[in-house]
Amino acid sequence: MAFLEVHKVGRDFPGVTALDDVDLSLELGRVHILAGENGAGKSTLVKLLTGADHPSRGTITIDGRDTAQHPDVFNLVAYVPQELNLFPHLSVAENLFIPYDRSDFGGLTIDHGAIRKAAQDYLDRFAISARPTDLVRNISVSDQQLLQIARASTNKHMKVLILDEPTSSLTRTEVDRVFKVISGFRDREHAIVFISHKMDEVFEIGDDYTVLRNGRKVEAGRMAETSEAGLIRAMSGAELELEQNFRPVKQPELPEETILDVKGLSGERFEDVSFTLKRGEILGFAGLVGAGRSEVMQTMFGFLKPKAGSVTVKGAPWKLGDTSHSVRNGMLYLSEERKHHGILPMLSVRENIGISILDETLSKFGISAARERSKVLEIIKAYDIKTPDMEKKIMFLSGGNQQKAIIGRAMATRPKVLIFDEPTKGIDVRTKAEIYKIMKTLAEEGVGIILVSSEMDELRKCSSRIITMHTGKITGDFDAETTANETLVGAIFGTETKNAA
């Protein structure tokens, strides 16, 4: 008998059926992979499992009790959301035990000494290096991620732990720390639900799996009895060319040309960075989180101020520190923080894309609605953006489709240099491949492309060359096709510094 049993559950929203006829059974002492593309209904299902939302049909049984009659059994379930939702201005210890009445530290006054001591126990257990008194905004991203899991586990009743993409912004060593914690819970007879788009991780940690597609359960079973290709087929409903290579092919008719030349660029968190970007190539940037890659890109783009150095674009000196100059002159930066730096959430897909083609849609009587609609429709088609209609607010689109809309919007300005910073973070396998294809096509058309990524696999698949960075300095420049993984990893961790280009 499974510990948590979902039986024929459906959830309707006005006009949409988000889930239909979904079964799921979780057993104690096992890690269950919940797989599906963006928009398959994973988040909706998680909301039902945590009691944050209620099913329109079907039953959820936890520990043999029907949740409809015993809503209190939801306190056996702990949930760690994908987005960090800690209190940045409170200490690590306070974050662990807030709200205090839940964690037995309630009462009129708070015993900070006791809280700190209790916190240290958790920090040791989870191998978090931060101290209980540190403010959360000052600790590392991986510590924050682990702290979220630690916080969920301060719930003494917890038997089910749901982790929604806990590794999306972590490096491999940090992922190992998270996996250790997960295995620990599994061995102490907890049921774990693990959601991730990273196939290697899923196969490493998972025992069982359930695949959702378009709000329905399409497959379930033991991880040992399926394969990566099988899982992807179940998620996408189609056979995907997996090991495809997305490196741009040299176009003989385009003359060799240096698009971007960066010399001695220094700024906050990086120093003396020099590199060139040639026409027709995708230049990958590898490194740990915090190695300074995003800072270099944002400085070139003008979002951050440089301390020293110069940038030349197509032979002409480039003005730094002015984003509107960069956009006007053909350099665009697509941030890894889609929500914070990318979309205009409450505006429609049309307005989000239309804002970068105002030159083309402006008529004597203001922005021409008809012209805008037809131009935007072209972009929606060209980049295969899935939306019910272009008047839909962009925040209701899935992450992958938001990303494609942002790429489409960027491309409409015909840039010379396009910088992708973690373009596939939190995006499903199929959409990833689509984004790789777009990058490849653009590079072959002569747009200079920079790809910043923490996924070595992604960098190897897409880049022509890979530059590695470690603590703010460039540690190598490698040919992506011929360099061994160990060499790249060594350069990322700063253990060897050499130039093999």
Binding site: G15, V16, H340, G342, L344, I355, L358, K393, M395
Partner: protein
Amino acid sequence: MQRNPLASLVANPLAGVFVALLIIFGISALLSPYFLTSYNMSVIARSLAFVGLVTIGQSMLLILGELDLSLGVIGGLCGIISGILMVNYGINPVVALGLALAMGAALGFINGILVTKLRLHSLVLTIGTAGIYGGVTLVLTKGVAITGIPAEIQFLGRGTVYGIPVPFIIMLVVLAIGTFITLKTPFGRYMYAVGNNTQAAKMLGIKVDRVRVAIFTLAGLLAALAGLLMVARLGTAQPSIGDTWVLPPIAASVIGGVATTGGVGTPLGAIFGAAIIAIIENIIVLFGVSPYWQGVVSGAIVVLAISFDAISRRYIRREG
């Protein structure tokens, strides 16, 4: 994907507030025989005109995610300045009005510069500048009204064209321009972009601070225009002009679908909101409600209106 008609009506905040306006208008007409008289209509139109001009500016600031609490006193101060120029210095009324308008724009510009350059929160900053601008009014007038405003400008405040009050016509023209700017020009799109997500707007290469300063300046100009029209209507420049233009425009904007967090809504919706408030205040007077109770009643209706808005919004979110 099917939507029920009620949902799509609620989903379009402009249509929703317009229907609410029609319903309140209809109920008022049924409740009081005096409501539809042309005299009463022109009373409503005139009072809507002044607060409406301020509302157009304030709603555009709110779309940006900003707020200016000094618009009322800017209107008052510019009215006083025009009075001093015309009466004490005998300056040609047209020139005086022009100077006073320019001054309103300048005061708004100062607010905008302080908010953007010093990265101050506009709510706190404009509480401060409201104190300064209002204080200057009192210093200049010692609390006494300036009488003897030239008769030739009083047409602007008291006149009618085909029975329609002139200030109301001016407000409609400004509204048309404001609506065009917000909905049909690149600048308008930039406003919404900034209000939605300032960081993303910067990434798109929009000069965010310039957009902000421009709207602060425009709002100051419109507040000054309202102040001048009020002087023209009263025939005296009174230091109390603008006292009631601080909170109603914000309430009107929210009723009309402008989010206080920025990014959504239109000046047109805000004017519908202002019209709802104006009608409610009018009907309270027609019913002879004690003036002491008027604040309670109109305040309660504002709370009701925005509650309805919040509830319908939750309904839409669930649908998405």
